[in-house]
């Protein structure tokens, strides 16, 4: 059974972290990242060719982590697979002991290192969620054929409170819950005010009672990274005061400042009604996760 699910069901504030697979076939890279995260987080979320750059498959990397005794969250994007491949991979993932799945549309192929490919987008992320829920709860695939055994999965979806239009963001969250999301992982939060208004709009519709919302955070390494994310990554909202804070410290203290901002953000998120956990996306900086979790007072992680 999903460790993450058990933590959330017990009412603990959950902690997950991201692990990006390598641009190569070396399993040690994945296992090393897994070791950095062991006992620091409840589940490890493995990205699926993020930013449309070819990497070791998420399914394979999850399998490595699962065998190492961690609870992986398999990310799957609809960009690269049609409904045959998606449903087949879900059955395979469940068969090898993966218990968490995050259903995403995926970064557009034009951003990556295969810009001449075609995006599949046979299903969208909401249709995909619905298909997975039907597989698990009804034991049927799209079209109604019955499965000999249903997959056992805790199903997640993403939400970006910072993209437009704000009012419709909550409608879309409601659609994802209706489609089958058990948990939600949000885009990185730097603008806490906007996040708070999104969550209160969601509360008006009673949504946080129906789904576990994990709030996303990413520690900044430098003011350059902050500026890049603000201007080049769509749907990323970084207030100027965050960038000014990063600029206001000497270069050798910038990473420390990034961690400090991240910890402060988590401390505020912990107190926010409707937020059930935090998802830490330390991009190629997994060794920062332990320190962040510790300074945010989230250690030791509860066992089951």
């Amino acid at each position: 059974m999903s460790h993450l699910k058990q933590i959330l069901e017990r009412g603990e504030f959950a902690v997950t972290a991201e692990c990006g697979p390598p641009k190569g076939a070396d399993p040690e890279v994945v296992l090393k990242k897994g070791e950095l995260l062991r006992d620091k987080v409840d589940a490890v979320n493995v990205t699926d060719n993020q930013t449309a750059i070819v990497r070791m498959s998420s399914l394979a990397a999850c399998s490595l982590l699962e065998r190492a005794g961690l609870d992986p969250v398999l990310q799957m994007v609809v960009r690269d697979r049609n409904r045959i491949a998606l449903q087949s991979d879900i059955l395979g993932a469940s068969a090898i002991g993966i218990r968490n799945l995050l259903c995403l549309s995926g970064d557009h192929q034009s951003f990556g290192n295969q810009p001449q490919t075609v995006g599949v987008f046979d299903l969208d992320s909401i249709q995909f969620l619905q298909a997975v829920r039907m597989m698990r709860d009804e034991g049927t695939i799209i079209g109604g054929d019955e499965l000999s055994a249903p997959p056992d999965l805790f199903i997640g979806a993403a939400a970006n409170p910072f993209a437009d239009p704000l009012e419709f963001r909550v409608t879309r969250l409601a659609k994802k819950i209706k489609a089958g999301a058990d948990f939600i992982q949000t885009q990185c939060i730097y603008n806490l005010d906007r996040f708070e208004s999104w969550i209160s709009m969601a509360m008006e519709r009673g949504l946080p009672e129906k789904v576990y919302i994990l709030s996303g955070v990413t520690p900044l390494k430098s003011p350059g990274m902050a500026r890049y994310m603000k201007t080049r990554v769509s749907g990323m909202d970084i207030p100027d005061e965050i960038i000014e804070r990063m600029e206001g410290v000497p270069k050798d203290k910038q990473r420390e400042e990034g961690i400090r901002i991240c910890v402060e953000t988590i401390l505020r998120l912990k107190e926010m009604p409707g937020v059930k956990g935090v998802h830490i996306m330390a991009i190629e900086w997994e060794d920062a996760v332990g320190e962040i979790v510790e300074r945010a007072g989230l250690l030791p992680r509860p066992g089951i």
Binding site: D124, A159, T171, A174, S234
Partner: protein, 222 residues
């Protein structure tokens, strides 16, 4: 209409190089409307090819003709009497026109001079946009007259994705977010609640998923 753009002249010259007597064949329908393969463009391409051949002292006969429609047999048969004069046809029809002409004359090479692009709308002089993919199962009612298949970069039927910012698409700041347009239009006529429902997976068998498509209308057949 079908939109197209002319291929680079060097690519065209490479393809026609083996032939001595060439018919440059225009089409007065869609590709004339988008200024790629009508009578005027056919004359211009013919002249350019003749001039290039003269510069390189090649002996080539290049003549032009434009059919009203290259994709309809009634017009293609007008070539019956002259086809024997040529080694090859350089077609400025769309991909359908090229193949229709080739079907009629199995022994004559038919070479495309255009890259066929999309089912387009003439937005303004010199600007054509793709708003329809011909999916065989029109969904425009549900989406307020804006097609998410043609106009959303991720083809989301339950959008918008997290990359919609200030009404623009994340892949290109010049591109409108189709989902912002859908939401704006449905809001304008009070039908936003249509989007509360999950739009089900698309039946691609009505598009190219079921193999090449054809329409059979017995009432139209003689």
């Amino acid at each position: 209409m079908i939109t197209a753009e002319q291929k680079p002249i060097d690519e065209i010259r490479g393809m026609i190089a083996p032939y001595k007597r060439i018919l440059v064949l225009g089409c007065a329908s869609c590709v004339a409307e988008c200024a790629a393969g009508g009578e005027k463009e056919t004359a211009m391409l013919g002249s350019a090819l003749r001039m290039a051949a003269r510069m390189e002292k090649q002996e080539v006969e290049i003549e032009e003709k434009t059919l009203d429609r290259q994709c309809v047999n009634e017009f293609i048969v007008l070539l019956d009497d002259i086809i024997d004069k040529y080694d090859a046809i350089l077609s400025l029809g769309c991909g359908a026109g090229v193949q229709a002409v080739a079907d009629m004359f199995p022994e004559t090479p038919v070479i495309p001079a255009l890259n066929t692009e999309f089912l387009g709308e003439t937005k303004s002089q010199g600007l054509w946009v793709e708003n329809c993919l011909g999916c065989g199962d029109c969904m425009l009612y549900y989406f307020g007259g804006v097609c998410p298949l043609a106009r959303c970069s991720k083809q989301l039927f339950n959008g918008p994705c997290g990359g919609s910012v200030n009404g623009k698409c994340e892949i290109n700041p010049d591109l409108d977010c189709a989902w912002q347009l859908i939401i704006d239009r449905l809001s304008a006529f009070g039908a936003l609640d249509r989007l509360e429902e999950i739009y089900p997976p698309k039946d691609w068998s009505k598009k190219q998923g079921g193999g090449p498509r054809k329409i059979v209308r017995e009432d139209q057949q003689r």
